[in-house]
């Protein structure tokens, strides 16, 4: 084995130019995989934070089963009553992964500036809990609720623009209550904010929770949001908390942020497909370079193969000899590829390119994460592909008839 590596290594050095081209092809392919996966890793991370903190979905959402489908038809049936809210909150807060449990209430209707009106989608949320959920995520977008102003709503900026509203103006919200009666309340225009999503930036209103309850004329909430200490605990917590609630005789549905954020799912679906495509191309490139290089090596070293067989190497040993050489080339390519990835990622991250993603309202920074675990996986996979690719020429070498190989000049 040691000798195979030595022989492979010496032959790689002997054909410097050819080896260099192969190593560079592998390195470039590997680096492009790493950079793209580093980029989408960054995007996924940003989208996840946007869903959890920006949209305020938290990590888990609790609701009565069927709310999303039939909630509009029979609203009172799906409302969580205040004693239920207290009981659930108490139960969940005991779990050590849970950081916060907070109620939500969606109210929609019409918002008017006195002259014109348009529809709004309102989300009632507890101001101080919202501050915890938002944390330090994109404070520049605004949209904080002030607990000192119980009648002030945060307006999505396009909605405010449509109605010509500015901060500290006031407007009227008209909505139907849980019982189907029409209710109207004056609302102050609090902070304006950017939802980050072109589809909602002309509709959203963030309302203080108590204000939303008054508008909807209820003591309850339609959802409870759970913020965990760590995003990585999401799925585990979903299972464990469901179990806990069932054990307590509470029939509730728990959805993760991932299930509720259709945008995240769409983007991930698209990027994953592009990634698979790039990966497939790189695999083809790596395979072709290795097959090509090793085939040339086998032809050039035909007489050497005959000699080694005469000296007692078995066919299998010959296969190994050339496979090892192919794998060595890929290992070299991988190392150069890692270096290339680090350099290019650093350059891209320093350059601070920004772009406006589809369906977004503002530009985001183009950043590339360096994810060692993903790089390692891709590397191992490419190594395996290279070994398989090298096996083709290696098998051809192994199958040679000794006297024919020796006669070859």
């Amino acid at each position: 084995m040691m000798n195979f590596i030595k022989l492979g290594w010496r032959n790689i050095l002997k054909n410097r130019r050819r080896s260099l081209i192969t190593v560079l092809a592998v390195a470039l392919g590997f680096a492009s995989i790493n950079l793209f996966s580093g980029y989408i890793h960054n995007v996924y991370d940003g989208l996840a934070e946007q869903a959890i903190r920006g949209e305020g979905l938290g990590h888990l959402t609790l609701m009565k089963p069927g709310l999303l489908k039939e909630g509009k038809l029979e609203p009172e049936k799906f409302l969580l009553k205040s004693d239920e809210i207290q009981r659930i909150t108490g139960l969940l807060s005991q779990d050590e992964t849970v950081r916060l449990v907070t109620p939500r209430l969606a109210v929609s209707g019409i918002v008017s500036n006195g002259k014109v009106s348009t529809i709004f989608l309102g989300e009632g949320m507890v101001p101080e809990d919202m501050a915890v959920i938002r944390g330090d995520f994109r404070a520049d977008r605004g949209g904080a609720l002030d607990r000192a102003r119980p009648a002030a709503a945060a307006f999505a900026s396009d909605l405010a623009d449509m109605l010509g509203l500015k901060q500290n103006d006031y407007a009227v919200l008209v909505a139907s209550t849980v019982e189907g009666l029409t209710n109207a309340l004056d609302v102050d225009v609090g902070e304006l904010y950017n939802t980050g999503n072109a589809g909602t930036n002309d509709k959203m209103l963030l309302l203080p929770f108590a204000f939303a309850q008054r508008l909807y004329d209820t003591e309850g909430a339609d959802r409870l949001i759970v913020l965990l200490r760590d995003r990585a605990q999401t799925f585990e917590a979903q299972l464990r908390l469901s179990e806990k609630l069932r054990a307590a005789g509470l029939n509730l549905e728990i959805k993760t942020w991932l299930e509720l954020s259709s945008f995240y799912k769409q983007v991930k679906g698209l990027f994953d497909m592009i990634f698979a495509f790039i990966f497939a191309i790189v695999i083809v490139i790596v395979m072709m370079s290795i097959i090509n290089t090793m085939s040339m090596a086998v032809v050039e070293r035909t007489r050497e193969i005959g000699t080694l067989r005469a000296l007692g190497m078995r066919r299998w040993d010959i296969s190994w000899l050339f496979s090892v050489e192919g794998v060595l080339l890929v290992v070299l390519g991988g190392l150069v590829g890692v270096a290339l990835t680090l350099v290019l990622a650093w350059v891209v991250n320093q350059a601070g390119f920004s772009y406006v993603p589809p369906n977004n309202t503002d530009a985001v920074l183009l950043q590339v994460d360096v994810v060692p675990w993903v790089m390692l996986q891709a590397f191992l996979f490419l190594g395996l592909v290279a070994a398989l690719a090298a096996l083709l020429p290696a098998r051809r070498a192994a199958r040679m008839v000794i006297v024919d190989a020796m006669g070859h000049v």
């Binding site: 010496r10 007489r303 050497e304 000699t307 000296l311 007692g312 066919r315 040993d317 006297v403």
Partner: protein, 225 residues
């Protein structure tokens, strides 16, 4: 018991649709420790015969015995092991591995056998000394003369203490003075280590000191002296 015995061995090559009979009905023995020469004109079948004795080709008919064991019909891996353990090879074109230095080339048969590197190295060093090229140990083949390369090849053929060394026209690519030296070296090692040598040549001048001469013509043994 002869070291090598061929009984009624034939070799037919398939060349496209025609068949070439390179060897016909060869009966032939070599005793241990012999220094034997197979000679004959080009195309007479010397290489074909040595390939069969060296177990790198299989006969079209007949039986081949090596050290009393019938070896035609063994599997590929079994033949590889016999070659590695019992036979040393010296080739017309030297056939050294270009990326290995002299010492590493000599070590090869032992390393294929699985001998530990330090032991193989010690053994190779002493063989290198015997062929008088100690100071060239770290040279690659392309930095050596033809005579030096063939001496390295001789050291490689002997490093595994084989019972039999096969040399197919070992001097065909060397000038006559060097050829002389190479044959003398082989003869000396044959005497000292009591290793059996079979070499082929088309040059009658190299036949002076051999124990036995086998004359081959058109794939048949026409004389044995």
């Amino acid at each position: 018991m002869p070291l090598v015995e061929l009984r009624g061995v034939g070799k037919v090559y398939q060349l496209g649709s025609t068949q070439v009979e390179a060897l016909a009905n060869i009966d032939f023995q070599i005793k241990a420790q012999e220094f034997a020469a197979i000679w004959g004109p080009s195309g007479s079948g010397k290489t074909s015969l040595l390939n069969l004795i060296g177990l790198i080709d299989s006969p079209s008919g007949g039986e081949i015995y090596l050290g009393g064991e019938r070896v035609d019909g063994l599997t590929d891996d079994e033949l590889a092991r016999r070659r590695n353990q019992k036979i040393g090879f010296i080739f017309q074109h030297f056939n050294l591995v270009p990326v290995l230095d002299a010492l590493e080339n000599i070590m090869l048969p032992l390393q294929i056998r699985g001998v530990r590197a330090d032991q193989a190295k010690a053994k190779a060093r002493s063989r290198l000394r015997e062929v008088g090229l100690e100071d060239q140990w770290n040279k690659r083949p392309d930095k050596m003369s033809g005579g030096q390369r063939q001496r390295i090849a001789i050291a490689r053929a002997l490093v595994g203490d084989p019972a039999l060394v096969i040399a197919d026209e070992p001097t065909a690519n060397l000038d006559s003075a060097t050829s002389r030296l190479i044959v003398d070296l082989m003869r000396e090692l044959n005497r000292r280590d009591q290793v059996t040598f079979i070499f082929s040549t088309h040059d009658p001048r190299l036949l002076e000191h051999v124990d036995r001469r086998v004359r081959l013509e058109d794939g048949r043994i026409v004389a044995t002296e």
